[in-house]
Symmetry: C2
Subunit: 214 residues, 2 copies
DNA sequence: TCCTAATAACTGACTGGCTGGTTATTAGTG
DNA sequence: CACTAATAACCAGCCAGTCAGTTATTAGGA
């Protein structure tokens, strides 16, 4: 009785690119661009190395695709946050910061952030894409919202862009910490707790007397 | 007329290691570990590739030396800061934060930070060394100082470690920004201004009423 | 429904170039 | 002259990228 030999591979043209990009994201996030081998990516994607070249002309193009795919969902989150920007500022912020940690936990933001930072010299275009498409719009929107709240008298005077940086920096550091130091035995940072405590700290530091009373 | 041909090389055994490490720091900071070629390092150090191996047995050892040389001065700064920790907390902090930006500007902290983050998976020992020798002591000292100030009633309640992170994160982000986004045309962050504004924000957010009155 | 031919997704062995590391040789120094 | 820092040519291994061949899949004919 001839046992029905399972097929050596299956043709799934439509699914391959996404699978490859997903695999590449993991490998790149682990090793960085240069140290990542195409054989590793292919293996994790359950495909041969040759197959990669059916979908992407070069290693750099895979990298590009990974970063772009990493930008998109974050961009949506930013847009969604902006759409709700009519609320009063303090509560808007509390809501935003409450949502953020779960987003960070579920997506692979951390690995991508590490990649963008680590490979920025070798791929300036990617750092630029990230800045232009994601960082600058997000930071700009936050800066604008802060400036508006200052104009309304809710927040005290000061450079709104620097206030925005003061606000988001700890979350970014939390992500980097998780990727860099926690794996080598450092005490983890509870990003949710950090977010909550930091927002209150920030509000106390930036609200004007009028705003604080509200 | 015999033109006085300059010597092909000079023997300067004592100076070479430092020159090599300095060159390696620049190259590693630019390209990351894997993408950095030994020929580049040798060329920048004004030396042949073979000469590298007179002083360091392997590429990783050069990397190690670079990181260690990068740790030492920062560690001294932290220690010096701690020695003065008898002052009252708010002013201690203001002084510390005033000193920090120039330190960041003069040393090549930025490149090293980028390196440690980018290569942490491939060289966990280095991330660990940085954490154990520099980050953890610094953060721990800061946490301790905050906890002490809380005990004295100067600062309000809250997780002192998270407060410490809230305090230093923006400076770290400033450094990363300078290394990652400024080179691709992003608007620079004025780290000194950020430090000053952020410390005041932080103090308003963390000082207790009693502390604020002082 | 079964068989066959045509198509194209996929494989995996191969290669060319690059780079970490070695070593025979040269040349500065005392 | 003896010694050794430093060189530069060299080697070995690794990996991105290639391609000739293999196999799943589909279309069409009987």
């Amino acid at each position: 009785m001839p046992s029905p030999r399972p097929p050596k591979f299956q043709r799934r043209k439509a699914d391959r690119p996404d699978e490859i990009v997903a695999a590449a994201l993991e490998i790149f996030a682990e090793k960085g661009f240069a140290a990542a081998r195409l054989d590793d990516i292919a293996a994790r994607a359950g495909v041969s190395k040759g197959a990669l070249y059916l979908y992407f002309p070069t290693k750099q193009d895979i990298f590009r695709a990974v970063v772009e795919q990493g930008v998109a969902p974050n961009l949506d989150i930013v847009r969604a946050g902006l759409a709700a920007a009519t609320d009063d500022f303090a509560n808007l912020l509390r809501g935003l910061m409450k949502a953020l940690p779960s987003v960070i936990a579920t997506t692979s933001t951390g690995g991508i952030v590490k990649m963008v930072i680590g490979e920025s010299r070798n791929f300036p275009e990617l750092a630029q894409a990230w800045h232009d498409k994601l960082v600058q719009p997000a930071l700009g929107a936050m800066t604008g919202a802060i400036a508006a709240a200052q104009a309304r008298g809710e927040l005290r005077a000061g450079d709104p862009r620097l206030y925005a940086i003061s606000l988001v920096a700890p979350m970014l550091v939390g992500v980097i910490w998780r990727e860099t130091f926690t794996p080598v035995g450092a005490e983890p940072i509870d990003i949710a707790a950090l977010a909550e405590q930091h927002v209150e700290l920030w509000l106390r530091g930036v609200l004007s007397q009028a705003g604080a009373a509200a």
